[in-house]
Protein backbone atom coordinates (compact mmCIF):
# COMPACT_ATOMS: atom_id res chain seq x y z
CA UNK A 1 0.00 0.00 0.00
CA UNK A 2 2.77 2.38 1.05
CA UNK A 3 4.81 1.49 -2.03
CA UNK A 4 1.94 2.26 -4.40
CA UNK A 5 1.30 5.57 -2.60
CA UNK A 6 4.96 6.54 -3.02
CA UNK A 7 4.75 5.55 -6.68
CA UNK A 8 1.71 7.77 -7.28
CA UNK A 9 3.31 10.70 -5.48
CA UNK A 10 6.52 10.31 -7.52
CA UNK A 11 4.47 10.31 -10.71
CA UNK A 12 2.73 13.54 -9.66
CA UNK A 13 6.09 15.14 -8.94
CA UNK A 14 7.47 14.16 -12.34
CA UNK A 15 4.56 15.64 -14.34
CA UNK A 16 5.51 19.31 -13.77
CA UNK A 17 9.13 18.44 -14.55
CA UNK A 18 8.13 17.13 -18.01
CA UNK A 19 5.89 20.15 -18.51
CA UNK A 20 8.82 22.43 -17.75
CA UNK A 21 11.03 20.58 -20.23
CA UNK A 22 8.46 21.00 -23.01
CA UNK A 23 7.99 24.68 -22.18
CA UNK A 24 11.71 25.32 -22.74
CA UNK A 25 11.36 24.44 -26.38
CA UNK A 26 9.70 26.99 -28.68
CA UNK A 27 8.64 26.94 -32.28
CA UNK A 28 11.17 28.63 -34.54
CA UNK A 29 11.10 29.38 -38.26
CA UNK A 30 14.15 29.45 -40.49
CA UNK A 31 13.87 32.65 -42.51
CA UNK A 32 17.17 32.72 -44.40
CA UNK A 33 20.23 30.57 -45.07
CA UNK A 34 23.52 32.09 -46.22
CA UNK A 35 26.44 29.84 -47.14
CA UNK A 36 29.91 30.77 -45.90
CA UNK A 37 32.86 30.45 -48.27
CA UNK A 38 36.51 31.09 -47.59
CA UNK A 39 36.86 33.36 -50.57
CA UNK A 40 38.10 31.01 -53.28
CA UNK A 41 35.44 29.35 -55.43
CA UNK A 42 37.25 25.98 -55.15
CA UNK A 43 36.47 25.79 -51.45
CA UNK A 44 33.37 23.83 -50.70
CA UNK A 45 30.85 25.37 -48.34
CA UNK A 46 31.28 24.00 -44.84
CA UNK A 47 29.12 26.25 -42.67
CA UNK A 48 26.00 28.39 -42.93
CA UNK A 49 24.60 31.50 -41.27
CA UNK A 50 21.01 30.61 -40.52
CA UNK A 51 18.46 33.27 -39.58
CA UNK A 52 15.97 31.85 -37.12
CA UNK A 53 12.84 33.62 -35.96
CA UNK A 54 11.72 32.64 -32.46
CA UNK A 55 8.84 34.66 -31.08
CA UNK A 56 9.67 38.31 -31.61
CA UNK A 57 13.44 37.81 -31.91
CA UNK A 58 15.57 37.02 -34.93
CA UNK A 59 18.66 34.95 -34.18
CA UNK A 60 21.53 34.33 -36.56
CA UNK A 61 23.24 31.07 -35.73
CA UNK A 62 26.28 29.36 -37.22
CA UNK A 63 25.52 25.86 -38.42
CA UNK A 64 28.10 23.36 -39.61
CA UNK A 65 26.39 20.27 -40.98
CA UNK A 66 27.96 16.97 -39.98
CA UNK A 67 29.50 14.87 -42.74
CA UNK A 68 26.84 13.34 -44.98
CA UNK A 69 23.96 15.17 -43.34
CA UNK A 70 23.08 17.09 -46.50
CA UNK A 71 23.06 20.83 -47.04
CA UNK A 72 20.57 23.26 -45.56
CA UNK A 73 20.38 25.74 -48.50
CA UNK A 74 16.70 25.03 -49.01
CA UNK A 75 15.72 25.05 -45.33
CA UNK A 76 14.22 28.56 -45.45
CA UNK A 77 10.61 28.38 -44.34
CA UNK A 78 11.08 25.21 -42.30
CA UNK A 79 9.72 25.17 -38.75
CA UNK A 80 11.38 23.35 -35.87
CA UNK A 81 11.36 23.24 -32.08
CA UNK A 82 14.32 25.04 -30.53
CA UNK A 83 15.59 25.76 -27.06
CA UNK A 84 17.21 29.19 -26.88
CA UNK A 85 20.02 29.50 -24.37
CA UNK A 86 22.27 32.45 -23.52
CA UNK A 87 24.84 31.76 -26.21
CA UNK A 88 23.50 28.71 -28.01
CA UNK A 89 20.37 27.33 -29.62
CA UNK A 90 19.57 23.64 -29.17
CA UNK A 91 17.44 21.64 -31.59
CA UNK A 92 16.83 18.07 -32.70
CA UNK A 93 17.89 17.16 -36.23
CA UNK A 94 15.90 14.96 -38.62
CA UNK A 95 17.36 11.82 -37.02
CA UNK A 96 16.24 12.98 -33.59
CA UNK A 97 19.78 13.73 -32.43
CA UNK A 98 20.14 16.81 -30.22
CA UNK A 99 22.44 19.49 -31.63
CA UNK A 100 23.65 22.84 -30.32
CA UNK A 101 24.68 25.79 -32.47
CA UNK A 102 26.25 29.08 -31.37
CA UNK A 103 24.27 32.34 -31.61
CA UNK A 104 26.16 34.93 -33.67
CA UNK A 105 23.69 37.77 -33.21
CA UNK A 106 20.14 38.46 -32.13
CA UNK A 107 17.81 41.35 -32.89
CA UNK A 108 14.22 42.08 -31.87
CA UNK A 109 11.64 41.90 -34.65
CA UNK A 110 9.20 44.73 -35.14
CA UNK A 111 5.89 43.68 -33.58
CA UNK A 112 2.85 43.78 -35.84
CA UNK A 113 0.53 46.70 -35.23
CA UNK A 114 2.90 49.65 -35.56
CA UNK A 115 2.45 52.41 -38.07
CA UNK A 116 3.19 51.76 -41.75
CA UNK A 117 5.54 54.73 -41.91
CA UNK A 118 7.71 53.11 -39.25
CA UNK A 119 8.67 50.22 -41.58
CA UNK A 120 12.42 50.34 -42.17
CA UNK A 121 13.75 50.31 -45.72
CA UNK A 122 13.86 46.71 -46.82
CA UNK A 123 16.94 44.91 -48.03
CA UNK A 124 16.69 42.97 -51.31
CA UNK A 125 14.44 39.96 -50.88
CA UNK A 126 15.36 36.72 -52.61
CA UNK A 127 12.34 35.76 -54.68
CA UNK A 128 11.30 33.49 -57.51
CA UNK A 129 9.24 34.89 -60.35
CA UNK A 130 6.70 32.16 -61.05
CA UNK A 131 5.06 33.79 -64.06
CA UNK A 132 4.17 37.10 -65.62
CA UNK A 133 7.15 39.33 -66.43
CA UNK A 134 7.74 40.13 -70.07
CA UNK A 135 11.31 39.31 -71.09
CA UNK A 136 12.09 37.21 -68.04
CA UNK A 137 11.69 33.44 -68.08
CA UNK A 138 9.17 31.84 -65.75
CA UNK A 139 10.50 30.41 -62.48
CA UNK A 140 13.53 32.71 -62.49
CA UNK A 141 15.33 33.39 -59.24
CA UNK A 142 16.26 36.96 -58.46
CA UNK A 143 15.90 39.73 -55.93
CA UNK A 144 13.01 42.07 -55.19
CA UNK A 145 13.61 45.59 -54.00
CA UNK A 146 11.51 48.69 -53.49
CA UNK A 147 13.27 51.70 -55.00
CA UNK A 148 11.84 55.19 -55.50
CA UNK A 149 8.29 53.95 -55.54
CA UNK A 150 9.04 51.12 -57.96
CA UNK A 151 8.98 47.41 -57.28
CA UNK A 152 12.13 46.11 -58.98
CA UNK A 153 12.85 42.48 -59.79
CA UNK A 154 16.41 41.74 -60.90
CA UNK A 155 17.37 38.44 -62.50
CA UNK A 156 20.97 38.32 -63.82
CA UNK A 157 20.91 41.14 -66.43
CA UNK A 158 17.15 41.44 -66.75
CA UNK A 159 15.28 44.00 -64.72
CA UNK A 160 11.54 44.49 -64.33
CA UNK A 161 10.24 47.76 -62.84
CA UNK A 162 6.66 48.17 -61.72
CA UNK A 163 5.51 51.57 -60.41
CA UNK A 164 3.69 51.06 -57.12
CA UNK A 165 0.72 53.33 -58.02
CA UNK A 166 0.01 51.23 -61.14
CA UNK A 167 -0.56 48.13 -59.00
CA UNK A 168 -4.31 47.48 -58.92
CA UNK A 169 -4.29 44.45 -56.65
CA UNK A 170 -1.82 42.93 -54.26
CA UNK A 171 -2.52 39.65 -52.47
CA UNK A 172 -0.30 37.53 -50.24
CA UNK A 173 -0.68 33.82 -49.69
CA UNK A 174 1.20 30.75 -48.60
CA UNK A 175 2.44 27.69 -50.39
CA UNK A 176 5.01 24.98 -49.96
CA UNK A 177 7.68 23.41 -52.10
CA UNK A 178 9.71 20.23 -52.10
CA UNK A 179 12.95 20.55 -50.14
CA UNK A 180 14.86 18.64 -52.85
CA UNK A 181 13.69 20.02 -56.17
CA UNK A 182 14.90 20.81 -59.67
CA UNK A 183 16.62 18.11 -61.70
CA UNK A 184 17.88 16.34 -58.58
CA UNK A 185 14.34 16.34 -57.24
CA UNK A 186 12.94 14.80 -60.40
CA UNK A 187 15.62 12.10 -60.48
CA UNK A 188 15.15 11.37 -56.79
CA UNK A 189 11.49 10.59 -57.42
CA UNK A 190 12.57 7.41 -59.18
CA UNK A 191 14.65 6.26 -56.23
CA UNK A 192 14.36 2.59 -55.20
CA UNK A 193 12.05 1.22 -52.52
CA UNK A 194 9.87 4.33 -52.49
CA UNK A 195 12.67 6.56 -51.25
CA UNK A 196 11.66 9.23 -53.78
CA UNK A 197 8.15 9.29 -52.40
CA UNK A 198 9.52 9.48 -48.89
CA UNK A 199 11.65 12.49 -49.81
CA UNK A 200 8.53 14.17 -51.26
CA UNK A 201 7.16 14.38 -47.73
CA UNK A 202 9.78 16.98 -46.80
CA UNK A 203 8.58 20.38 -47.87
CA UNK A 204 9.38 23.93 -46.88
CA UNK A 205 6.85 26.72 -46.52
CA UNK A 206 6.76 29.73 -48.80
CA UNK A 207 5.04 33.08 -49.06
CA UNK A 208 3.40 34.04 -52.34
CA UNK A 209 2.86 37.58 -53.57
CA UNK A 210 0.38 37.97 -56.40
CA UNK A 211 -0.01 41.36 -58.01
CA UNK A 212 -1.87 42.87 -60.92
CA UNK A 213 -0.87 46.12 -62.58
CA UNK A 214 -1.71 48.13 -65.69
CA UNK A 215 0.89 49.20 -68.25
CA UNK A 216 0.85 52.69 -69.85
CA UNK A 217 -1.51 51.38 -72.59
CA UNK A 218 -3.98 50.18 -69.97
CA UNK A 219 -3.20 46.49 -70.48
CA UNK A 220 -3.56 44.31 -67.40
CA UNK A 221 -0.55 42.25 -66.28
CA UNK A 222 -0.28 39.69 -63.52
CA UNK A 223 2.80 38.57 -61.63
CA UNK A 224 3.36 35.84 -59.07
CA UNK A 225 6.38 35.74 -56.79
CA UNK A 226 7.37 33.25 -54.11
CA UNK A 227 9.72 34.11 -51.25
CA UNK A 228 10.71 33.14 -47.72
CA UNK A 229 8.08 33.05 -45.02
CA UNK A 230 7.20 36.44 -43.54
CA UNK A 231 8.61 38.56 -46.37
CA UNK A 232 5.51 38.96 -48.55
CA UNK A 233 3.36 40.70 -45.95
CA UNK A 234 6.14 43.18 -45.17
CA UNK A 235 6.66 43.93 -48.85
CA UNK A 236 2.93 44.36 -49.33
CA UNK A 237 2.73 46.88 -46.47
CA UNK A 238 5.54 48.92 -47.98
CA UNK A 239 4.00 48.84 -51.45
CA UNK A 240 0.61 49.93 -50.12
CA UNK A 241 2.34 52.77 -48.27
CA UNK A 242 3.83 53.88 -51.59
CA UNK A 243 0.51 53.96 -53.42
CA UNK A 244 -0.25 50.38 -54.45
CA UNK A 245 -3.89 49.28 -54.30
CA UNK A 246 -5.21 46.12 -52.70
CA UNK A 247 -8.57 44.41 -52.40
CA UNK A 248 -7.50 42.55 -49.27
CA UNK A 249 -6.48 44.62 -46.29
CA UNK A 250 -3.01 44.15 -44.90
CA UNK A 251 -2.72 42.28 -41.63
CA UNK A 252 -1.53 45.39 -39.81
CA UNK A 253 -4.35 47.68 -40.82
CA UNK A 254 -6.99 45.03 -40.24
CA UNK A 255 -5.68 44.61 -36.70
CA UNK A 256 -5.80 48.35 -36.10
CA UNK A 257 -9.19 48.74 -37.72
CA UNK A 258 -8.04 51.74 -39.70
CA UNK A 259 -9.50 52.63 -43.05
CA UNK A 260 -6.18 53.64 -44.56
CA UNK A 261 -5.90 50.62 -46.83
CA UNK A 262 -9.61 50.05 -47.36
CA UNK A 263 -9.71 53.41 -49.10
CA UNK A 264 -7.33 52.03 -51.67
CA UNK A 265 -9.55 49.22 -52.87
CA UNK A 266 -9.32 48.19 -56.47
CA UNK A 267 -10.98 50.46 -58.94
CA UNK A 268 -11.90 48.51 -62.01
CA UNK A 269 -11.90 50.47 -65.22
Amino acid sequence: MLRSLVGVLTAFLLVPAFGQMKADYQLGTITDVVARTNGSPEDSVTSYDISLRVGSTLYVVLYTPPLGAGTPQYAAGRELLVKVGEKTVRFNDMLGESREVPIESSSPLEPAGESIEADPPQAPVKATLVIGATGVKDNSNGSLTLEKGNLRFVHSKDTVDIPAPSITDLITGSDSQRVIRGTAGTISMFGPYGSGRFLSLFRSKLDTLTLQYRDPDGGLHGLIFTMSVGRAELLKRQLVAQGAHTTVETQKSSEQGTSKVSETTEQKP
Binding site: D215, G219, L220
Partner: protein, 184 residues
Protein backbone atom coordinates in the same frame (compact mmCIF):
# COMPACT_ATOMS: atom_id res chain seq x y z
CA UNK B 1 -33.36 19.10 -126.21
CA UNK B 2 -29.97 17.62 -125.41
CA UNK B 3 -28.54 21.09 -125.06
CA UNK B 4 -31.22 21.95 -122.56
CA UNK B 5 -30.40 18.84 -120.49
CA UNK B 6 -26.71 19.67 -120.56
CA UNK B 7 -27.39 23.23 -119.50
CA UNK B 8 -29.58 22.03 -116.63
CA UNK B 9 -26.91 19.58 -115.39
CA UNK B 10 -24.23 22.24 -115.68
CA UNK B 11 -26.40 24.70 -113.76
CA UNK B 12 -27.06 22.16 -111.01
CA UNK B 13 -23.34 21.43 -110.65
CA UNK B 14 -22.13 24.99 -110.77
CA UNK B 15 -24.68 26.58 -108.44
CA UNK B 16 -23.51 24.81 -105.23
CA UNK B 17 -19.87 25.47 -106.13
CA UNK B 18 -20.52 29.18 -106.56
CA UNK B 19 -22.50 29.37 -103.33
CA UNK B 20 -19.71 27.57 -101.45
CA UNK B 21 -17.21 30.02 -102.86
CA UNK B 22 -19.29 32.95 -101.69
CA UNK B 23 -19.67 31.39 -98.26
CA UNK B 24 -15.93 30.77 -97.97
CA UNK B 25 -15.12 34.30 -99.01
CA UNK B 26 -17.46 35.65 -96.37
CA UNK B 27 -15.31 34.24 -93.53
CA UNK B 28 -11.84 35.39 -92.55
CA UNK B 29 -9.29 34.71 -89.86
CA UNK B 30 -9.12 37.31 -87.09
CA UNK B 31 -5.83 39.18 -86.83
CA UNK B 32 -5.90 39.96 -83.13
CA UNK B 33 -7.34 38.63 -79.89
CA UNK B 34 -8.03 40.46 -76.65
CA UNK B 35 -7.84 38.33 -73.52
CA UNK B 36 -10.16 39.49 -70.76
CA UNK B 37 -9.29 38.89 -67.11
CA UNK B 38 -10.51 35.55 -65.76
CA UNK B 39 -13.86 35.78 -63.98
CA UNK B 40 -14.88 33.40 -61.21
CA UNK B 41 -18.44 34.28 -60.25
CA UNK B 42 -19.49 30.82 -59.13
CA UNK B 43 -16.38 29.42 -57.46
CA UNK B 44 -13.83 30.90 -55.12
CA UNK B 45 -10.55 30.88 -56.98
CA UNK B 46 -7.27 31.83 -55.30
CA UNK B 47 -5.68 34.97 -56.73
CA UNK B 48 -2.56 33.17 -57.91
CA UNK B 49 -4.65 30.76 -60.00
CA UNK B 50 -6.60 33.63 -61.55
CA UNK B 51 -3.42 35.45 -62.51
CA UNK B 52 -1.69 32.27 -63.69
CA UNK B 53 -4.67 31.38 -65.92
CA UNK B 54 -4.63 34.83 -67.47
CA UNK B 55 -0.87 35.02 -68.01
CA UNK B 56 -0.65 31.49 -69.38
CA UNK B 57 -3.45 32.27 -71.84
CA UNK B 58 -1.60 35.34 -73.10
CA UNK B 59 1.65 33.38 -73.37
CA UNK B 60 0.13 30.43 -75.21
CA UNK B 61 -1.77 32.61 -77.68
CA UNK B 62 1.53 34.37 -78.44
CA UNK B 63 3.39 31.08 -78.84
CA UNK B 64 0.86 29.44 -81.17
CA UNK B 65 1.23 32.35 -83.57
CA UNK B 66 -2.39 32.16 -84.70
CA UNK B 67 -2.89 35.86 -84.09
CA UNK B 68 -0.62 38.71 -85.09
CA UNK B 69 -1.64 40.72 -82.03
CA UNK B 70 -2.51 39.47 -78.57
CA UNK B 71 -3.98 42.28 -76.49
CA UNK B 72 -4.32 42.27 -72.74
CA UNK B 73 -7.46 43.22 -70.81
CA UNK B 74 -8.07 46.96 -71.12
CA UNK B 75 -5.40 47.58 -73.78
CA UNK B 76 -6.35 50.77 -75.61
CA UNK B 77 -4.71 49.52 -78.82
CA UNK B 78 -7.48 46.92 -79.21
CA UNK B 79 -10.27 49.49 -79.30
CA UNK B 80 -12.04 49.94 -82.64
CA UNK B 81 -10.43 47.00 -84.41
CA UNK B 82 -13.08 44.90 -86.14
CA UNK B 83 -10.53 42.21 -87.06
CA UNK B 84 -10.03 41.39 -83.38
CA UNK B 85 -11.89 38.83 -81.31
CA UNK B 86 -12.40 38.88 -77.55
CA UNK B 87 -11.88 35.90 -75.25
CA UNK B 88 -14.15 35.88 -72.18
CA UNK B 89 -13.48 33.22 -69.54
CA UNK B 90 -15.44 32.19 -66.46
CA UNK B 91 -14.29 29.53 -64.03
CA UNK B 92 -17.05 26.98 -63.41
CA UNK B 93 -15.22 24.46 -61.27
CA UNK B 94 -12.03 24.25 -59.30
CA UNK B 95 -10.54 21.46 -57.25
CA UNK B 96 -7.24 22.22 -55.58
CA UNK B 97 -5.19 19.08 -55.11
CA UNK B 98 -1.90 18.61 -53.33
CA UNK B 99 1.51 18.23 -54.92
CA UNK B 100 2.73 16.24 -51.95
CA UNK B 101 -0.20 13.80 -52.19
CA UNK B 102 0.38 13.41 -55.93
CA UNK B 103 4.04 12.59 -55.49
CA UNK B 104 3.48 10.19 -52.62
CA UNK B 105 0.41 8.33 -53.88
CA UNK B 106 0.57 8.86 -57.68
CA UNK B 107 -3.20 8.44 -58.03
CA UNK B 108 -4.61 11.06 -55.66
CA UNK B 109 -4.22 14.80 -55.25
CA UNK B 110 -4.95 15.97 -58.80
CA UNK B 111 -5.77 19.63 -59.39
CA UNK B 112 -8.41 20.50 -61.99
CA UNK B 113 -9.98 23.68 -63.30
CA UNK B 114 -13.09 23.87 -65.49
CA UNK B 115 -13.38 27.07 -67.47
CA UNK B 116 -16.14 28.24 -69.77
CA UNK B 117 -14.58 30.07 -72.71
CA UNK B 118 -16.54 32.37 -75.01
CA UNK B 119 -15.02 33.91 -78.09
CA UNK B 120 -16.87 36.93 -79.41
CA UNK B 121 -16.33 39.66 -81.95
CA UNK B 122 -15.85 43.24 -80.83
CA UNK B 123 -19.60 43.79 -81.11
CA UNK B 124 -20.22 41.12 -78.49
CA UNK B 125 -21.65 38.49 -80.86
CA UNK B 126 -20.62 35.00 -79.78
CA UNK B 127 -18.46 33.15 -82.30
CA UNK B 128 -17.66 30.03 -80.28
CA UNK B 129 -18.35 28.68 -76.81
CA UNK B 130 -16.48 25.81 -75.23
CA UNK B 131 -15.89 24.29 -71.78
CA UNK B 132 -12.20 23.53 -71.31
CA UNK B 133 -10.55 21.66 -68.46
CA UNK B 134 -7.02 22.07 -67.19
CA UNK B 135 -5.50 19.50 -64.88
CA UNK B 136 -2.29 18.23 -63.36
CA UNK B 137 -2.02 14.58 -62.36
CA UNK B 138 1.55 13.84 -61.37
CA UNK B 139 4.49 16.11 -62.13
CA UNK B 140 4.55 19.79 -61.23
CA UNK B 141 2.84 22.17 -58.87
CA UNK B 142 -0.86 22.97 -58.75
CA UNK B 143 -0.41 25.98 -61.02
CA UNK B 144 0.57 23.64 -63.86
CA UNK B 145 -3.15 23.00 -64.35
CA UNK B 146 -3.46 26.59 -65.58
CA UNK B 147 -0.80 25.97 -68.21
CA UNK B 148 -2.62 22.84 -69.38
CA UNK B 149 -5.85 24.81 -69.73
CA UNK B 150 -4.12 27.61 -71.65
CA UNK B 151 -2.61 25.20 -74.20
CA UNK B 152 -6.04 23.70 -74.90
CA UNK B 153 -7.72 27.10 -75.14
CA UNK B 154 -5.08 28.37 -77.57
CA UNK B 155 -5.66 25.32 -79.78
CA UNK B 156 -9.40 25.97 -79.80
CA UNK B 157 -8.79 29.60 -80.79
CA UNK B 158 -7.00 28.48 -83.95
CA UNK B 159 -10.19 27.39 -85.66
CA UNK B 160 -12.15 30.61 -85.17
CA UNK B 161 -13.25 32.71 -88.11
CA UNK B 162 -15.15 35.97 -88.22
CA UNK B 163 -17.48 37.39 -90.84
CA UNK B 164 -15.48 39.15 -93.56
CA UNK B 165 -15.24 42.89 -93.26
CA UNK B 166 -15.61 45.07 -96.33
CA UNK B 167 -12.38 46.51 -97.72
CA UNK B 168 -12.05 50.32 -97.67
CA UNK B 169 -13.10 50.60 -101.35
CA UNK B 170 -16.09 48.31 -100.80
CA UNK B 171 -16.95 50.16 -97.59
CA UNK B 172 -17.19 53.46 -99.49
CA UNK B 173 -19.48 51.81 -102.00
CA UNK B 174 -21.71 50.31 -99.34
CA UNK B 175 -22.16 53.67 -97.65
CA UNK B 176 -24.30 54.78 -100.60
CA UNK B 177 -26.43 51.64 -100.40
CA UNK B 178 -29.14 50.83 -97.85
CA UNK B 179 -27.89 49.42 -94.50
CA UNK B 180 -29.34 45.96 -95.22
CA UNK B 181 -26.94 45.52 -98.11
CA UNK B 182 -23.78 46.03 -96.08
CA UNK B 183 -22.04 43.01 -94.62
CA UNK B 184 -21.35 42.76 -90.90
Amino acid sequence: MRDLDRATILFCLMTPLCLTGVALQAQEKPIGVEVEMIQSDEVKLPAEFRVALYENLVQQLHRKGTFENVYRDGDRNAVGRPDTIVLHTNVKGFKQGSERTRQVTTVAGATSIHVHCRFSDTGGHTLLERDIEGKVHFFGGNLKATSDFAKKAASVARGITIPAHPKPADRAATLDQPASASMR
